[in-house]
Symmetry: C3
Subunit: 156 residues, 3 copies
């Protein structure tokens, strides 16, 4: 078992099967040694959106639920990385995460929400998981998801 | 005539002339074999913003108009790609589209709007047009445009 | 003294010390000859957020303050670039700026705000500072900052 996969197992995380989007876009594209991953929303392992992870921060979604939603996005990013690379040990570096938080216009502690994704990435990948990051609060997200995270990885 | 240009002609799409922005940014930058294109808004071929493509999804802009606006953004992306590369057949892959939808805070079917851009890219470029994608709903866009799309391409 | 540093001095700009974020993300990541910089908010040289640069465009933050905030973001981007590269003369090109403006839903002149960042980049880097750019208005930003700017540079 790969190093990263056994780390996921230690954390009790099972990567769900990858479900490609039914549209003219794809979950990831490889260019050179860069892996570009489409924005992943906070579906759970069963590909369902939990009620707790639906809606806006500063509204019906509280900080803990927002952080859990961000963590789910990061797990879904890893699902796509595994589908792209076969073996997550091929990841050299998580280069960047873009975090979009579904927010009321007065909800400022956005980075704390996004830490749910950043922390997962470092728990799983160690120092290779330390990434550049941009976090913003947006007016709405697909299916009213609380969080969406896009990613770029370097791989070997 | 290039393959991509003849595909555009089949679709009845004439790429308007490229109009560079009058500011300290540029419509595109090339780094290595990557072409990075600035966010393109939904101006029509005459460089005018139609009333139908101005305003918010979930408000004055309905789904069909939003999809048409996203399609215009994708056409404007191709205008910049042609200005950058000379020949659109040099495109190896549309790596990524970033879609920003001018949305009311309760307008969740954002991906359906963005499909207007994704579908155009694949209609014109075929499998080379299948891209990673991030779609979010934002509070406002330049000139109150309904949609803005940024892009990254790999080229040869 | 490097060319870029002396240009900064001419403009009366002192780059503040870099303060790394206390979280599982980092201010920048290098991949190949690309430098990816995390979203930088509009803190001043003292790492404080001025009241004038806190809040929304179209609300309590007027155009001049918004442009000043965008300029501060660009300075903070250069702080990170210097920390990453040691010498800003190693910059080959500012490839892309992503500008996020904390906006009321009816504030459309977003590009004018973002020019505060774009102009600084070209003042300091000359033609190497001309970048691709995406500007959007978002519902909220970390600490209710008026502007956040992320960046990608090519370096040698």
């Amino acid at each position: 078992m790969s190093v990263v996969e056994s780390k996921l197992r230690q954390l009790g995380i099972t990567l769900p099967d990858q479900v490609p989007p039914v549209a003219n876009y794809v979950p990831f594209v490889i260019t050179g040694n860069l892996l570009v991953i489409s924005g992943q929303v906070c579906f759970g392992p069963n590909r369902q959106l939990a009620d707790a992870h639906k809606g806006k921060l500063g509204g019906e979604v509280d900080m803990a639920a927002g952080q859990a939603a961000a963590r789910l996005c990061a797990i879904n990013v890893l699902v796509q990385a595994k589908a792209a690379l076969g073996d997550l040990d091929r990841i050299v570096r998580c280069v960047r995460l873009g975090g979009f938080i579904n927010s009321r216009p007065d909800f400022a502690p956005l980075p704390m929400v996004m830490n749910g994704a950043s922390d997962l990435m470092v728990e799983v990948l160690g120092d290779k998981g330390r990434h550049a990051r941009t976090t913003v609060g947006v007016a709405e997200l697909p299916q009213d998801c609380a969080v969406e995270v896009e990613a770029m990885f370097e791989f070997a």
